[in-house]
Every structure is written in C-alpha cells, then in structure tokens.
C-alpha cells in the first residue's frame, strides 16, 4: 500500500487574501457594468443576452471572491 500522502487545500493558503481582493475587484467591475447598462439604456435597447451574461460573469467572480474573503478572514467554510 502506498505511503499516505498529505492532503492540502487546492489553492495555497497564502494566496487567499490576494485572490479575494482580485476576484472581488473584478466582480465589482462587472457589477458596475451591469448596472450602468441597466440604468442608462432605454427600455427597448436593453439586450437580455448582454444583461444575463454580464450578471453571470459578475456573480461568478463575486462568488469566488466572497469565498476567498471568508477563508482569508478565518471562517474556514
């Protein structure tokens, strides 16, 4: 039987704060783009495809960013 290998986290611990900051920043940029598109376009010009994609990309980055934020502040979920 092979000797036991140690298991560590898939992302190195020391990177957690950096990743949290970067992902949240990118997520917020996309959120800003989403809301700009929503509020400045008139009703007929709203493109559903553009809205949903911007929202999806923003939520992916915000989701990962908030996960790494929780991990770096010590709440190991």
């Amino acid at each position: 039987m092979a000797p036991p290998r140690a298991i560590a986290s898939p992302v190195p611990d020391s990177l957690y704060p950096t990743l949290a900051f970067l992902m949240l920043a990118i997520g917020l940029v996309f959120t800003a783009a989403f809301f700009i598109h929503e509020t400045t376009s008139s009703r007929r010009n709203l493109s559903l495809v553009k809205e949903v994609t911007t929202g999806a990309v923003a939520s992916v980055f915000l989701g990962f960013g908030s996960l790494f934020l929780l991990l770096s502040s010590g709440v190991y979920v």
Binding site: M1, A2, P3, P4, R5, A6, I7, A8, S9, P10, V11, D13, F34, F35, E38, S41, S42, R43, R44, N45, L46, L48, E51, V52, G55, A56, A58, S59, V60, L62, G63, F64, S66, L67, L70, L71, G74, V75, Y76, V77
Partner: protein, 613 residues
C-alpha cells in the same frame, strides 16, 4: 475508608482458602516502582515469569483488588527483549477476564498474551507492566485551611498480588517530597530521601497480600476535568479547528475557612501552597489563532510561544484554584490541514491526538467530536483503545444537509491516552465546489431579480395619457441612443482615415491609403443609410419636438465633416502621387484642417448635449 479496606481483606482471606493452584507459572522476580510524584498514580512492575510445568503457557494473569480496579485507567505490558536499552514494544493484549475459573470474586483479572509460541517448558520471559490509576490518593485530612499543606494517603500491598507464587520481589514508593507523615513499617523497610523501599521478600505463596499505608505531603497541582468536550472540525480549504471546553476542579483536599487574597498574594508559597495558579498545554507545532475564553469573555492572562516541535500555551484561570474550587473555560486553536489529513488507498483519514494537551490532567469524561465536511461518506474510526462511539449532525457555515459528526466517549482518561487515532472517510473532491457554487447562485439570484425588476411593467393603466407619453418618450430615447451610436461610429471612421494619412506620411504607401479611403467611404454610406429611418421616426414622434432640431443639426454637421475630410484626404493623396514636398501639402490643406477641427468640436458639443437629456 479504612472500614472498607478491612472488609476487602476479609473477603480476600476467605477467597484465598478456596483457591486451587492456577497454573504452573512462577514469577521468579518482581520489581515494582510506585510513582506518587503526581496526583496520577503510576505503578511500573518488571516481572520475570518462568514456566515450571510441562505444557506451554500462552498468557499471564494480572489481578487487582476490585476497589483498585475501579480506578484503573490505563494498563499496558511491554516485553523487554534485548539487553539494556534495546527494548521492543510487544504486542500485549490485556483482555479482561471476568472471574475465570478459580478466581476469587473480589478480584479483577487481566490477561497478558505472551508472544508467539507462548512460554515453553522451563523457559522464562521478562516483561514490564505499567498501570495508571486515577483518584487513588485520598486527601487526609479532607479539609484544610488556606495555610496548610496537602497530606495524602496511599494504600497498596507490599506483596505483589498475583495468582502465581513469587520467588523474589521488592517495592519502591517514590514520593514528591522527603517529608513523610507516616508509613507502614514492615520487615525490610527503609526510607532513603524521598523513596521508601520495601523488600526484598522471598518465596511468597500466590495471592499473598500485606497492606501498607503511606501518608505523605504533596502540593502537586491536582488538575481534574470533570468533563472535557473536544470538537475537531476539518475543513478541506486548509484548516483543522480544535475547540476544547473544560470543566475543571481541584481534586485535592477541600479548602475550609475563608480565602484571604491579601495573604495569598503576599506570600503565595506559605498561604496557598496547595493551590495551583497556571496550567501548561502543549499544542501541536504551527498552531495558529489560539484563543482562551470563558462564559464571561476573553481571558488575557495567558502566554504562547512555539517552536518547530510544539506550541506551548500557558494559561492562568481568573482565580487561583484551591481544593474543591471549579472553573470552566474554552481553548481553541487552528492547525494546518496538511499535518493531519492524509490520503491512502481510496480513503482520506484524519490522524490526530485523542487526549487533552494540558499536562498531568485527569479527565473523568472525555468526549471527542470529529466534524467532517459535508459530503463525507463511509466514516470509520480506529482508536488504540476501546471507546464508545456514535454519530451526530452539525449545521455550520454554508451547510445544506449538515456535517457528519463522529463522537467518541471515554471515561478516566490520563495523559497516557494522548495517542493518535484515525478517522477514515471518503470524499469526492468535486464536492468542494459546492460552497462557491452556492455563493455564486446567491449573487446570480440578485442579478436576476434586478433584470426582472427592470423589465417588469408595473403600471396599472395601459391607456392613460401619462403612460402613453412615457412610452413614446422611451421610444424617442432609444432612437436617440441609436443615433448616438451611429454618429460615434462615423467619428471612429474619421479617426481611421486620419490614421491612414499618418501612416502615409510614415511609410509612403499610397495604395494602402487609397484602399483605406474606399473602405471608409463604404462604411460611411452604410451608416448614413441607417441614420435615415431613425431620423424619420424622430420626425413623426410628438415627444421629440425639442430634440429634433438639435439632432438634425448634428447629422448635417457630421455630413459636412465627412465631406471635408474626404476632400482633404484626396488632396493629400494626390500630392503624394505628385511627390510634392511636405510643407506644400501642409499649406494646401491648412484652411481645410482648421474648418475640420472646428466642425469636430461642434459635433462633440452637440453629442454631449444630447447625452445629458
């Protein structure tokens, strides 16, 4: 206490009369050391057993009086093959036999299995037995004042209680101080410093028993935890969090009378010798985020320092602990995951210590709860000693169905139980994505809610004047935005034209310039075609009355700009073909250029104006 003692003796004496010889083993040499330097009693015996019969024997029985066996916490036997320091730990199997044939009822027997083959005829074998007892030191007097020292009574038998005959034996009792109040004086008894030696005694029959009582002084800290709950939470993102909830009591002589803080602080060694002030816990190395708090809040009287092999935490409870006083607190710390979680075969396992990190602590009930991440299956536990086991569920951060918890319970735990145990389980690595996906879907739900809100038409009346006016205004707005878009695209085409001119001045490639101009021409024609229907919509709409002149002006100006740029472009290209010098070109187009820049400025202004609406 003494009455119960005498009663046991009586029962033993009666039982001894009806005991046949148990087997043909003879203990040729027994050396016992009783260590009383701590409140945990440790007895180490070295036994040399010889087989005087014909048959091979595979086990050796060890017996203890029932009263002593009640307090027995840990029993282990090691075989000491090899000379001197080369000891090998033997596989010992103390199996509890409940009253096997011929055993008197007041005794509890444990059997040690001898290594393969057993003991042949005439062979002898040496092994060490370590026994640990809890709560075996009786405080006497039971209540003392703050200024008194603690005196304790320990009872034992000078003769090794065994179902076999013993040829030669000796007993040494080691005390923490040279001061002994009293001790039973049998033959061959002498006291040397802080050790009392009984023996050697020779040729004793099986089940010989000679009670001795030692009354001595000990001010060692009597740390007893009535209950300890250790929760070990594993997170695959890189942390093992250990939280320990202690319910501590000072297990020595109870304090009577009043406690004078002034006396204690002025001369702690004279007024408060029996109390203890701090506890030392040895945590694993690389422990982080250590906290020490109780129901009131954080306790700041603690020190932490660590090196590569351990992290030492020294904690002081809020008050010194005197006999009978209780305190309850919580210690928590985080450990790096890679030191404790391993993968072997298809399973993962957690390898972590079972007991408390506090040194010299007796735990009456220890409950260890291992919380595994959600999605763990096929959980099994392997411990070096028997424990009671059951499963629970815990709801923690981002949990849907709850995390599986394995709870292990053991009573009478001593520091010898602080060994590693393993918890095996299966976990699919993809399940780790469940947490970020939950967060992502939460955020996405918010965005979808925004989209739905913007698209929803919540007006009540669809034919009122204000509603219709709003709809028309929105149409006008969208048309204007599209016009804006188109004008911006025209402007980018102009910029491209300018860029091609600059390229021309750099590279002198006239052909490329011409093709660029053709392209720009085509694009501009398309854009103006698209502009036409939009303008017509604006002209028909009543809401656009104010905007319309400005927009028309914008379109007209843009057209002028276009034309002028084209003219400039063609002149420059012709000049290049005719190889006219740079300054000539400049002169010819100077006036054009001025007009162009002025027009461009006006177009930009108009665009800004329209934007602001």
């Amino acid at each position: 206490m003494k009455m119960g003692f005498r009663f046991d003796l009586l029962v033993l004496a009666v039982a001894l009369l009806s005991t046949p010889a148990l087997s043909d083993l003879v203990l040729t040499r027994v050396d016992r050391r009783v260590d009383l330097t701590s409140h945990i009693v440790r007895i180490t015996s070295t036994l040399k057993v010889e087989n005087t019969g014909k048959d091979s024997v595979s086990e050796v029985l060890l017996v203890f009086p029932e009263r002593q066996a009640k307090n027995l916490a840990y029993l282990t036997a090691l075989s000491s093959t090899g000379k001197g320091k080369a000891k090998t730990a033997a596989v010992n199997l103390p199996v509890k036999n409940v009253n096997s044939e011929g055993m008197p009822p007041a005794l509890v027997a444990y059997s040690v299995s001898l290594p393969e083959g057993g003991l042949g005829k005439g062979e002898s074998f040496t092994f060490d037995v370590s026994v640990v007892f809890t709560h075996s030191l009786q405080p006497f007097p039971e209540k003392i004042t703050q200024a008194d020292t603690q005196l304790l009574v320990f009872e034992e038998s000078a003769y090794f209680l065994s179902p076999y005959a013993v040829k030669v034996q000796s007993l040494t009792v080691k005390l923490p101080h040279p001061r002994v109040e009293s001790y039973t004086k049998l033959e061959n008894t002498k006291i040397q410093g802080s050790e009392i030696k009984y023996g050697p005694y020779e040729n004793l029959a099986p089940f010989s028993y000679s009670p001795i009582v030692v009354h001595f002084e000990s001010n060692q800290p009597f740390v007893v935890a009535r209950e300890l709950v250790r929760e070990i939470e594993v997170s695959h993102w890189g942390n093992v969090q250990v939280t320990e909830n202690y319910d501590l009591v000072h297990g020595g002589s109870q304090i009577k009378g009043e406690f004078s803080r002034l006396d204690y602080q002025a001369r702690p060694h004279i007024r408060g010798a029996a109390a203890f002030r701090n506890l030392i816990a040895k945590l694993p190395p690389r422990a982080h985020s250590v906290y020490y708090r109780d129901a009131i809040g954080n306790i700041s009287t603690s020190h932490l320092w660590g090196d590569a092999r351990k992290t030492e935490l020294e904690i002081e409870p809020r008050y010194p602990m005197f006999g009978g006083w209780r305190t309850a607190f919580t210690i928590g710390y985080g450990l790096p995951l890679q030191d404790f979680l391993f993968k072997s075969g298809g399973k993962r396992f957690l390898n972590i210590s079972f007991g408390s990190p506090i040194s010299e602590i007796i735990i009456d009930t220890l409950i260890v709860k291992v919380v595994l991440p959600e999605g763990s299956r096929d959980i099994s536990v392997s411990t070096p000693f028997p424990v009671k086991q059951w499963e629970e569920t815990k709801f923690s951060h981002l949990d849907v169905v709850g995390r599986p918890v394995v709870a292990l319970e053991k009573s009478k735990v001593v520091p010898e139980h602080d060994q590693y145990f393993q918890v095996y389980y299966k976990f699919n690595s993809i399940s780790m994505l469940r947490e970020p996906i939950m967060l992502i879907s939460g955020f996405f739900f918010l965005f979808v809610a925004c989209i739905v809100y913007v698209h929803a038409d919540l007006s009540i009346s669809k034919s009122s004047a204000s509603y219709l006016a709003k709809v028309q205004w929105e149409e006008v707005q969208s048309v204007i935005q599209q016009v804006n878009n188109l004008i911006n695209r025209c402007l980018t085409v102009h910029d491209k034209l300018d860029a091609s001119l600059r390229d021309l001045s750099r590279t002198g490639d006239v052909q490329a310039c011409k093709t660029a101009r053709k392209q720009a021409d085509g694009l501009l024609k398309e854009l103006s075609k698209e502009l036409k229907p939009l303008l017509s919509i604006l002209q028909t709409s009543p809401q656009a009355v104010q905007i319309l002149p400005k927009v028309e002006e914008l379109v007209v100006k843009e057209k002028e700009l276009q034309d002028k740029l084209m003219v400039k472009h063609t002149t420059v290209v012709e000049c290049y073909e005719k190889k006219v010098s740079g300054r000539e070109i400049e002169n010819r187009i100077a006036s054009q250029q001025n007009k162009i820049t002025a027009l461009r400025q006006e177009v930009d202004d108009l665009l800004d104006f329209i934007d602001e609406l």
